[in-house]
């Protein structure tokens, strides 16, 4: 079935079964491979991207649910890797294997859009992505750095 998708501001027409998970359309059809597959059952968050600014686990969202909405993936976060969260991630040298980090960054951006200066409790409640390398310690510090730079820029993402 042909469907129109808007991903990172670009319209695509894809012809897939409507129940196909958004993740696989993004990765295999649109070849945006920054968004990762790990568990396939909405447990880990490696596949996190945004639909209309809300982080979702794209392995468990049918592509049909994204029709008519704005999808943003890690590739669309900034043209050159200079989103405040990406800069903070580089400053703290967060990634180890890096496999979870696209999803992690998208979750954090989603949180900071709603709460530009989140408390530890909010971070704990909202950032439920898994990182098998356990980079959590630097992630929390990097969220602080990103929040500070967002507030220096005027407070909103």
């Amino acid at each position: 079935m042909a469907m129109d998708l808007t991903v990172n501001g670009v319209r695509h027409s894809v012809d897939v079964a409507p129940e196909t998970p958004l993740l696989w359309v993004i990765r295999d059809q649109l070849r945006l491979t920054g968004t990762k597959f790990t568990c396939g059952i909405a447990q880990c968050g490696a596949c996190t991207l945004h639909i209309d600014d809300r982080p979702v686990r794209s392995c468990s969202v049918p592509v049909s649910a994204a029709v008519g909405k704005a999808v943003t993936t890690i590739e669309g976060l900034s043209p050159d890797g200079t989103h405040p969260v990406q800069l903070a991630w580089m400053e703290l040298d967060v990634p180890q294997c890096g496999y979870c980090q696209s999803g992690m960054i998208m979750s954090v951006v989603g949180l900071l859009k709603r709460r530009p200066n989140p408390t530890d409790a909010e971070i704990d409640a909202e950032i439920t992505n898994a990182c098998r390398c356990s980079t959590y310690h630097r992630i929390r510090k990097a969220i602080r750095v990103a929040a500070a730079s967002i507030s220096a820029r005027g407070g909103a993402l």
């Binding site: 295999d28 597959f37 790990t38 991630w89 294997c97 959590y136 929390r140």
Partner: protein, 780 residues
């Protein structure tokens, strides 16, 4: 399935023109942007030597960009950066212009290592305590045993050994290239080489002040042989300027933009996807499958049965045979295979195995003679007459590594050439597998290495390559990307063996051990069975016996992070806490005294580690109710007097009355030997291992039910999240007089025994079976 707009085909990088016979493969780089700027069109990896290659590790471009070839795989441990640092330290090049690139496993099949890498003793980097002897194994052409003498020597990524084993020849590689660049400049200026020197890629002639750059003399250097390679001198730690400094990891920028290429991201023209199902009971195979039922599912092309991967190719492990469904997209292949009826042919004995009968068999084995590894003094008679005996039995479960990237490989088999795109921890072994399965010689096997989404003890070598090679060999001319589901990843992996141990000690009237009997049991094939107990004792007991016991089970066991150490460390350090408590002594001071009584070569360092960690943690100061501290010693190589890594950790743990565990802080005293290569990576590894082993202690287990592994995704195999990361991880490095024995895999083990002891202090209950979530942790 079509795409009607003209999105850019970002995944398309390698120029694999799948024309049978005439195959052109672009060399594969981990970043698309870099690869595009390298314009790899038609450049074969094996021909990429180029005019400007100074040696097999170092390529200098006219603009002074230095490409450093990396023979290990980046899986989060920082090797992409630390290996480059070891080369760049000697090369004295501009670090900001260093670009790592994977070394060619194909060239490694064709070329021998330069003679100067074979003679890898200290060459100036001597260790006053004798720790500078590299611990190389025998030279084996295959790389299966020891370190081969093929071009890149050791291409394996394992045993936390990338620095330990690679340092000598990587420093030599940088020094050899530097010497030749200086020689080239001297030749150009017709001056003695002694009068030229270099800093940051700039070469200066002392007398005249003339300067040039590496990039300008690189092609001349490429033609200038080293006059005396056996005399190449590498810098001792006192002369390091780059090594030992905190350097951000060079792969990180690509990992925050989603551009880093993992095996799973590989797309080739004409590529088809394969989803597989392997027999969930190891040793089983396909009896029948009904492809007709799915033949008309969207995108489906074919199905192929594959045999149990040849154990000879995968270090003896027996997985299951299975079936692959090939389709246009992976999701189509996966959807179809889920609908395809498959009947398995399962060895009856394997299907009767479950966790309980495996554990019971191991516990029974403890009373059999076993293999006596150490026997000092006369344990039996001391036990017979001892006034006081402490005894405890511990157990740990099977554990997989469960990296985030599910196993996958892309393979294209042509008439006389195999190309493999993969994140792999043993490319030399995979090259051999490809040759064995296809009959195409290793010299014609090309591995295009990708970053790996986690390794943790060689997850990069399940049988994903062997399965993919098998399937692609049946589909010659078509690139096949085989990808496991998470559930398949759990099936096609090796496990840290289930284990049990019985420890007994006889105490004297002051509570010090006068005899100790240690019996451990694992699967007979489990590596590392003697870890931590293999010398007279880490902690002094004048009479000491250690025996290993085993059973044979069908679950494939392997080298998960830390290998044998995590389980044995849990037993040993838990028991030390139990002895200290039986003696009514402080567990820190009890350990300290027992180490002081040994004649271990590094006992002073061990004591120092304990002292620093205790002091950092505020050991002995009052804590709120429901909070406790515990301490443990971590060491690797403590017995030998050579390479070693020593640390101690104190964990401060709180437990709520309803049994919720919270890791409040971790204080780590860590040995830096003569010097760490990249202290930033070491910090990151320590931070990661704290939570890795927290997961082991608290949550993780794989149980066996009717011969199969029960937990197979992250809904049942639990991972902690950021909310459980401790608010504080404090690390203090201290200098010692030996080379480090790696630190990527056993630097957080203490948390297991430390949580056990904290639970005991807070709740009064002593638990000896991991994970703790199976126990009642409530208290009043």
């Amino acid at each position: 399935m079509t795409i009607t707009d003209n999105f850019s085909r970002r995944g398309l990088l390698a120029t694999a023109a799948a024309v049978t016979g005439a195959l052109v493969i672009g060399f594969w780089l981990p970043r698309r942007t870099e690869a595009q700027s390298f314009n790899p069109e038609g450049a074969a990896w094996s021909n990429e030597t180029g005019d400007d290659e100074v040696n097999a590790w170092v390529v200098v471009a006219p603009d002074d960009t230095v490409t450093v070839r990396i023979a290990q795989t980046e899986l989060g441990q920082g090797v992409w950066t630390s290996n480059a640092m070891m080369v760049a330290e000697e090369l004295q090049c501009d670090w900001s212009k260093v670009r790592p690139q994977y070394a060619s496993a194909n060239r490694d099949a064709k070329e021998m290592a330069p003679a100067w890498t074979l003679n890898v003793m200290g060459n100036g980097a001597t260790d006053p305590n004798g720790g500078g002897e590299p611990q190389f194994g025998t030279r084996d052409r295959t790389g299966l045993a020891g370190i081969p003498d093929s071009l890149y020597r050791r291409m394996r990524t394992n045993a936390a050994a990338s620095v330990k084993d690679g340092r000598y020849y990587l420093q030599l590689a940088g020094a050899e290239a530097r010497d030749r660049l200086l020689l080239a400049a001297a030749k150009l200026w017709a001056v003695p080489v002694e009068e030229v020197s270099s800093v940051n890629s700039v070469i200066t002639h002392r007398g005249s002040g003339r300067t040039t750059t590496y990039g300008k003399v690189a092609s001349l250097a490429a033609e200038t042989p080293h006059p005396n390679p056996q005399r190449i001198r590498i810098k001792p730690p006192s002369e390091w300027t780059l090594m030992g400094t905190e350097q951000k990891n060079l792969d990180v920028p690509s990992k925050v933009t989603g551009t880093a290429v993992y095996g799973i991201d590989v797309h080739l023209p004409g590529m088809k996807w394969a989803a597989v199902k392997s027999c969930p009971v190891y040793g089983g195979k396909v009896k029948s499958y009904d492809f007709e039922r799915i033949r008309n599912e969207p995108g489906v092309i074919s199905a192929i049965q594959f045999p149990i991967p040849d154990p000879v190719l995968i270090r003896g492990r027996i997985f299951g045979g299975g079936v692959a469904v090939i389709a246009d997209s992976w999701y189509q292949a996966k959807t179809a295979i889920d609908k395809m009826p498959i009947e398995w042919d399962v060895p009856a004995a394997n299907a009767t195995r479950n966790t309980a009968n495996i554990r019971a068999a191991l516990i029974a084995s403890l009373d059999e003679p076993g293999t006596v590894r150490v026997n000092v003094g006369d344990c039996d008679s001391v036990f017979r007459s001892a006034a006081r005996i402490v005894e405890a039995t511990y157990s740990v479960p099977y554990l997989p590594r469960a990296r985030m990237e599910p196993g996958n490989a892309t393979v294209l088999v042509a008439d006389n050439r195999v190309d493999i795109w993969i994140g792999d921890q043993s490319p030399q072994e995979t090259r051999r597998s490809a040759a064995q399965i296809t009959g195409i010689p290793e010299e014609n096997v090309y591995l295009h290495m990708c970053h790996l989404g986690g390794g943790y003890g060689r997850n990069g070598n399940g049988p994903q390559a062997e399965q993919a090679i098998y399937v692609a060999n049946q589909n010659r001319g078509t690139p096949i990307h085989l990808l496991w589901t998470r559930e398949e990843d759990f099936i096609n992996t090796t496990f840290r063996s289930i284990g049990v141990a019985k420890l007994r000690a006889a105490l004297d009237k002051d509570g010090w051990p006068i005899a100790m009997d240690v019996r451990t049991a694992t699967d007979a094939e489990a590596p590392g069975a003697t870890a931590g107990f293999d010398i007279a004792a880490r902690y002094f007991a004048p009479n000491y016996r250690f025996s290993t016991h085993s059973g044979r089970f069908h679950i494939p066991v392997g080298t998960r992070r830390g290998v044998g150490a995590p389980a044995q460390h849990f037993y040993r350090e838990s028991f030390m806490d139990e002895l200290a408590r039986a003696a009514g002594k402080d567990p820190y001071l009890y350990r300290r005294e027992l180490i002081a009584r040994t004649n271990l070569p590094y006992r002073a360092d061990m004591i120092k580690a304990l002292d620093i960690a205790a002091e950092m943690s505020g050991w002995g100061t009052k804590l709120p109710e429901g909070t406790a501290r515990a301490i443990a010693l971590e060491e690797r190589g403590a017995e030998a007097g050579g390479h070693a890594t020593i640390s101690a950790q104190v964990h401060t743990v709180s437990i709520s009355r309803d049994g919720k565990v919270r890791l409040e802080r971790v204080d780590v005293a860590h040995d830096e030997g003569f010097g760490l290569v990249n202290p930033l990576s070491v910090r990151k590894q320590i931070e990661g291992q704290v939570t890795w082993f927290y997961n082991d202690a608290m949550y993780q287990e794989c149980n066996v039910t009717e011969g199969r592994i029960a937990e197979n995704n992250f809904d049942t195999f639990l991972l902690s999240r950021i909310n459980e990361d401790p608010p504080q991880i404090n690390v203090t490095f201290f200098k010692t007089g030996h080379w480090l024995d790696g630190m990527g895999h056993d630097r957080g083990l203490s948390i297991q025994s430390n949580i056990a002891d904290a639970i005991f202090q807070i709740t009064g209950k002593r638990y000896r079976d991991l994970p703790f979530r199976n126990h009642d942790l409530t208290w009043t």
